[in-house]
Amino acid sequence: MNSNILNVLKLLLYISVFSTFHSSCTKEIEIDIPPSKPKLVVYSTFVPFTIPYPKNFEVKVYATAHIFDTVKYPIRDAIVQLYKNNEFYDTINFYPECDCYTIPEMFFAEIGDEYSLIVERGGFETVTASSYIPSKVYIRDTIINPISYINEFGSAVGEIQFSFTDPVNENNYYELALSSGGINYDDYDSYFEIFTNATLITSQSYYPDLIRFDVPYPKFLLFSDDNINGQSVTLTIYYNPPQWFGEINYISTHYRTLHLRNVTKEYFDFKTTSIQQDYAKREDFLYGMGEPINVISNIENGFGVFAGFNNDYVTFKIDSVVVNK
């Protein structure tokens, strides 16, 4: 075959493929989406008294908005009532300092009690929710290795291995998270992306497909005890330690706190569907759009989550180390 013909065909392919994949092929669409009656959104997660990082009992209240509207800021004048074991406990007031409803007298939920919330605000349907705190599951036998391997970008990937024992004859749900040295429970920006090869976690629906190399890893790894009920389990997770690249590449001194949380089913459903929805929303040229997922909520007549969890954690200090490539 004439090499000139092949060269012409190659050139035409480059032009055609380039025009397909790089030409401007997005446009804004006008569409009429009818408005819906706004609903209250409640976000409140609570833990038992934990030292040295206690978490105040807080409730944040928002409102839904039309998809094209600017989101309304927190609702500051709702009536928020807390019930303990079906008996009225307290009306929780709004405090601008935290932009939330809270009990200033250092209230902490306890294992074994059931807590309920009723939130009312004029112009909205009243919302209710209930939850409790599960038992604590302890982290043990932790090993941290800041340089487990070097990835394709030349960065070191750190590894944390640990074990825990799942309580027998309970339905347990877990969340793993990695934060910096301190704990700021509800500040998602203070958590780091983590990933694993453990099928216990990768088999969960929310965990990104292995072939989706283009999406970031989640900041929270959730799993259930369906396949590990009552067993002692060793897990390995990976993270990206802070690194400096120069004449010498090295990992700087850093602190990391590993959290193992025993969470309720409503917490598990809310968090996993939130992560799933976030991934499904990502616009991807090859894969199109993921199937739309609504975030599961235990807030009756509203959205959000009211859920308890029990948290164990281990904090590591990792000294600076030179990275070997």
Partner: protein
């Protein structure tokens, strides 16, 4: 009991007819140049006004009242008709040879004797000529059979660059796609950009959308019956095409002249398209079709068919100490042995032994060996289906008014719904070796009987199919009545109606979030019942100008039960557990519509106009709050125009224009923020519509005879007026992170702009070129 009575009645009518003195001509019809069989060629006896068509193996049998001589007219589109006068006596092995090359600037006067749409006892059948398909505009220069059928009424494409067909609101798994009588489970290359069918290797294609004859079963929505070429019996031929994306080549010829032949076709991508774009991904595909054909005697023919095709996408990263591989591969392998036998001038049979295997495999492997750290891990998902089949079909052509078909088939299904393995070992970590074995076996059997009658005004095809399915001690059995009624009012006008009851024992799960294939074929079992459908259709058929134009107007109603789908957000990847835990069952569907199809079959200008108005919906207990919702590929109005025009002997122009109302989409209607995450609230499933779709494609073929053979340049322009058609919609919001001082501290805040709904289109104006040769 009712079936017995029906059979006895039919036999009585037939025996009464047979009691008259008749003579029978039978044999095969061939292309005179190549020796290829001609499927659907028409044989007509002028004096008795009786006719028939050659079957899918080229065999015909024409029985007429005894007379001294017979004037036989044989015709087939694209071939010169011939008229033969023979002595009035029984003749078996009366083989007929036609020359290709119809006079294109005039109408064949014998075309009116061709069995037209009016006379055929069929509803919902679309036949496209391969020669016509090859002239149509093509993406990347790839002529594609599936894409041609997507331009016919009642068939949806599913969106840009998709090679599935959604027939009358059915899903892709509900199409029985047969390659030489053997089912294929996956028919798309390159993420659906084009199908696995190499047009150079194909002889005949027929799509049946409703009124399924009893010989077809196991699927609910359509039958796409594809017959490969047998190979040139007389001389060696080579043809090939070099296109932008892939190239193909085909060799055929006699093993022993006029006795045996072979054909082998292969296609592969030659250009590493993703690597070319700078992405670290490799993507390759190929397919191979081959066939051996032996005429053992005048009564016996033996065929060996083979198909294999794969797509592989891979991402690999290797450094000094680490190796990482992430591959997905999917494809089909198919092998079949067929034996045709002519018992006598009226009885013909075909026996097929086959093996067809579809698999999808996803492999992740990682290995590190660095100083004191060694680690190895791998994760594999395998899903697939392997069918071993035995099929026996008999055709008894009693006379020109009465035909029978009967037979049976048996399929041993070996399902691999989701085999998964996970292995991990290394320094300071526990060794893990997990596997989940999902293999299961099922046996599907069916027997059928079909009776076709042609009594002038009253015609029809009536039959029944009895099918059984056994898996894990669970036994399903169904009786499937089939009926087609054709009332021929005049030579050029008829009214038709049909009824089909069908069952399907395999289910397809497709993760809707993935553009690349994620097709999982699952068995019906104790917990997941077979899918069922009932379809009614009624229509009118008309021809004009000596069968130059065929017009059909048909309406249909189809109900579906026991359909399955993934639970929202679920997939099988990483699921070391039963697949039944991630699906919704007991779904139902309702599809109805009206189709108009006008074809011009003969002349310098050919083509068609197709229009469909339809509705398709689904309902599951736990999806959309249990309310019905539009099926993902519900298209209220679909319209296509295809024109092929031969300007000169060596230059053809072709254009297609397609229009469709927008596909349904689920959009978020509200949102709220929690911890800086913008959470969407989605409305009812598929309650909105994307923009309308329309596109013009044009192409030109320039053929030139050379010293060594013939060459053709094909120039195509896809989306000639650069319509930005919707591929999908997504929301986009600009945001800006700012640092603010608040409450005596420095903090981060994100300021969000307006939310916008954006449309992504896939193909803009896209020229392509292909070079074909044959010698």
């Amino acid at each position: 009991m009712k079936l017995k009575f029906l059979l006895i009645f039919i036999l009585s009518v037939c025996l009464h007819t047979v009691a008259q003195q008749n003579i029978t001509l039978s044999g095969f019809i061939y292309d005179n140049q190549s020796g290829e069989i001609l499927i659907g060629a028409n044989i007509y006896e002028k004096n008795s006004k009786s006719g028939c068509a050659s079957n899918e193996y080229g065999f015909y049998s024409l029985t007429v009242a005894k007379t001294d001589s017979l004037e036989i007219i044989v015709s087939f589109i694209g071939y010169e008709s011939i008229s033969i006068t023979v002595k009035g006596e029984n003749k078996s092995n009366f083989n007929i040879y036609l020359n290709s090359g119809l006079f294109l600037n005039e109408v064949d006067i014998n075309a009116k004797r061709t069995e037209s749409i009016v006379e055929k006892n069929e509803t919902g059948v679309v036949r496209l000529q391969i020669s016509e398909i090859k002239q149509m505009p093509s993406l990347f220069g790839e002529v594609d059979i599936i894409k041609a059928y997507q331009l016919t009424p009642g068939v949806q494409s599913g969106g840009e660059a998709k090679s599935n067909i959604y027939v009358r609101g059915g899903s892709p798994d509900q199409n029985l796609i047969l390659l030489d009588d053997v089912p294929l489970y996956y028919v798309a290359h390159f993420g659906g950009f084009f199908s696995v069918f190499n047009a150079d290797a194909i002889n005949d294609v027929k799509l049946i959308k409703g009124g399924f004859p009893a010989r077809y079963g196991g699927r609910l929505s359509s039958v796409l019956d594809i017959r490969m070429n047998d190979g040139n019996f007389k001389e060696y031929k080579t043809q090939g095409t070099i296109g932008l994306l892939s190239s193909k080549i085909s060799f055929e010829g006699p093993i022993k002249k006029d006795k045996s032949s072979f054909i082998i076709s292969a296609r592969k991508n030659l250009v590493p398209i993703f690597k070319m774009l700078g992405a670290g991904i490799s993507y390759n595909f190929y397919d191979v079709n081959s066939k051996l054909n032996f005429k053992l005697s005048e009564k016996d023919r033996l065929f060996f068919s083979f198909y294999m095709g794969d797509d592989v996408i891979g991402l690999g990263n290797n450094t000094t100490n680490t190796k990482q591989k992430n591959n997905a591969a999917w494809g089909n392998t198919l092998g079949a042995i067929r034996w045709n036998h002519v018992y006598n001038s009226k009885l013909f049979s075909n026996l097929t032994l086959s093996d067809t295997y579809y698999r999808y495999k996803n492999i992740f492997e990682y290995k590190i060996d660095q100083d004191s750290i060694q680690k190895e891990m791998s994760n594999t998902l395998l899903t697939g289906i392997n069918d071993l089949g035995l099929k026996m079909d008999f055709t008894y052509l009693l006379n020109s008014k009465n035909n029978f078909r009967f037979g049976f088939n048996s399929i041993l299904h070996n399902f691999i719904p989701n085999d998964e393995t996970f292995y991990q070992t290394g320094t300071n970590i526990s060794t893990i070796n997990l596997s989940y074995n999902s293999k299961s076996q099922a046996l599907e059997n069916a027997a059928y009987v079909e009776y076709e009658m042609k009594y002038g005004f009253l015609n029809g095809n009536f039959g029944a199919r009895y099918s059984t399915y056994v898996i894990d001690n669970k036994f399903y059995q169904y009786l499937e009545p089939r009926a087609i009624l054709n009332l021929i009012f005049t030579e050029t006008f008829s009214a038709k109606a049909s009824y089909s009851k069908s069952n399907q024992f395999v289910h397809l799960l497709s993760y809707s979030g993935s553009g690349m294939p994620s097709d999982y074929w699952m068995p019906s079992n104790v917990n997941v019942a077979p899918q069922n459908s009932e379809q009614y259709s009624a229509g009118l058929a008309k021809t004009f100008h000596n069968n130059m134009f065929e017009l059909s107007l048909e309406s249909y109603f189809k109900s579906l039960t026991n359909i399955i789908d993934f639970k929202p957000g679920e997939s099988l990847l990483g699921n070391l557990d039963s697949w039944e835990n991630v699906i919704e069952t007991n779904g139902s569907g309702k599809n109805y519509g009206v189709e108009l199809f006008l074809q011009k079959l003969i002349g310098k200008t050919t083509g068609w106009v197709g229009a469909t108005m339809s509705k398709a919906e689904r309902q599951f207990e736990n999806i959309n709050n249990g309310d019905p919702y539009p099926y993902t590929y519900d298209r209220l109005l679909d319209f296509s125009v295809v024109i092929n025009h031969r300007i000169k002997e060596n230059i053809t122009l072709s254009a297609t224009w397609t229009y469709g109302t927008g596909y349904p989409i689920t959009l978020a209607t509200e949102h709220y923020f929690i911890n800086e995450q913008d959470v969407f609230v989605y409305g009812d499933k598929n309650s909105f519509r994307m923009r309308d779709y329309h596109r013009l494609d044009i192409s030109a073929n320039f053929t030139k005879k050379t010293d060594w053979g013939e060459r053709t340049w094909n120039i195509s322009i896809f989306n000639a007026y650069n319509r930005q058609n919707p591929y999908y919609y997504y929301y986009e919001r600009e945001s800006e992170d700012i640092i603010v001082a608040e409450n005596g501290a420095i903090g981060n805040h994100t300021i969000y702009g307006d939310m916008k709904l954006m449309q992504r289109s896939l193909f803009s104006f896209f020229p392509s070129i292909a070079y074909s040769f044959k010698f």
